[in-house]
Amino acid sequence: MSATTYLIIANAAVWLGIAGYLGFLASNASGLKKREQQVELLGGSNDN
């Protein structure tokens, strides 16, 4: 493999790693939003 290939691999690894973690955060945020809606519904039905 050429030196430039190693450079591209290292660069790609960093951005893939960071993108992966940001994807994890986004997935968590979406899950939390759903839970919040469920808690609000529960709160609404309890009041009734």
Binding site: M1, A3, T4, Y6, L7, I9, A10, N11, A13, V14, G17, I18, Y21, L22, L25, N28, A29, L32, R35, E36, V39, L42, G43, N46
Partner: protein, 220 residues
């Protein structure tokens, strides 16, 4: 709002840093593979900063018993393990390209790997089922003890000698001025990214705790 501002600054910073890596910084005598340094160094630096944050937050939690410090420690540990992984990966790729082998058991690399395992273990501990307050207390203690390895990682090359550079910036390093500009651009860009991700993750953990509290209250 803070997250959006930090994200915007990180985005601009990263674009500038990437331009500097690929077009502005000169090619070193060792060839283009040296440019891995501009990704490797910010990852290493911000991994160590993350673990320092875990250390400080853990101490603050032990004194104040405020859950927000526990959340900051947890978020910082996650980001620290991420950046430490990236530092190990980029370092390994660079070593392969430069010296022909993926890994050597020299002091700097060995202490870095130990540090990675310790903080990965910290994350495993955080995910175990345990009472909330007890878990926070145990994690705070581990967060303080785990930091013992961090100065060893930073000073390993100076203390025991290593093929790895000793991590201290000096004029005799042979780096051109444009290279230093690129190094600092990377540190600043990754810093904004680190800050934005940390704030976002802490807010997420706070939201999670708030929802958990509501559910427990509703069940009672």
């Amino acid at each position: 709002m803070k997250v959006k501002i930090l994200a915007a600054l990180a985005g601009i910073g990263i674009l500038v840093q990437q331009y500097m890596v690929w077009a502005y910084a000169p090619i070193a005598q060792s060839g283009p593979v040296q440019k891995i340094f501009y990704m490797h160094l910010p990852c290493s630096w911000w991994a160590l900063m993350s673990f320092l944050t875990v250390f400080v937050s853990s101490i603050l939690y032990l004194f104040k018993r405020d859950d927000k410090y526990d959340r900051v420690a947890g978020a910082a540990a996650e980001i620290g393990v991420l950046f430490a992984t990236l530092a190990l990966v980029t370092g390994s790729v660079w070593a392969r390209a430069e010296w022909g082998h993926w890994w050597v058991w020299d002091p700097k690399l060995t202490t870095s790997l130990i540090m990675w395992y310790v903080y990965a273990g910290y994350l495993v501990l955080r995910s175990t089922p345990m009472g909330r307050d007890r878990k926070a207390l145990v994690c705070a203690v581990l967060g303080i003890v785990a930091f013992l390895d961090v100065p060893l990682v930073f000073f390993a090359a100076k203390l025991w000698g290593s093929a790895h550079p000793d991590g201290v910036a000096r004029e005799s390093s042979g780096m051109a001025v444009k290279m230093w500009h690129t190094v600092f651009a990377g540190l600043i860009a990754f810093g904004f990214m680190w800050g934005g991700i940390l704030v976002a993750r802490v807010k997420q953990m706070a939201k999670h705790a708030e929802l958990e509290a509501k559910l427990i209250w509703d069940e009672e």
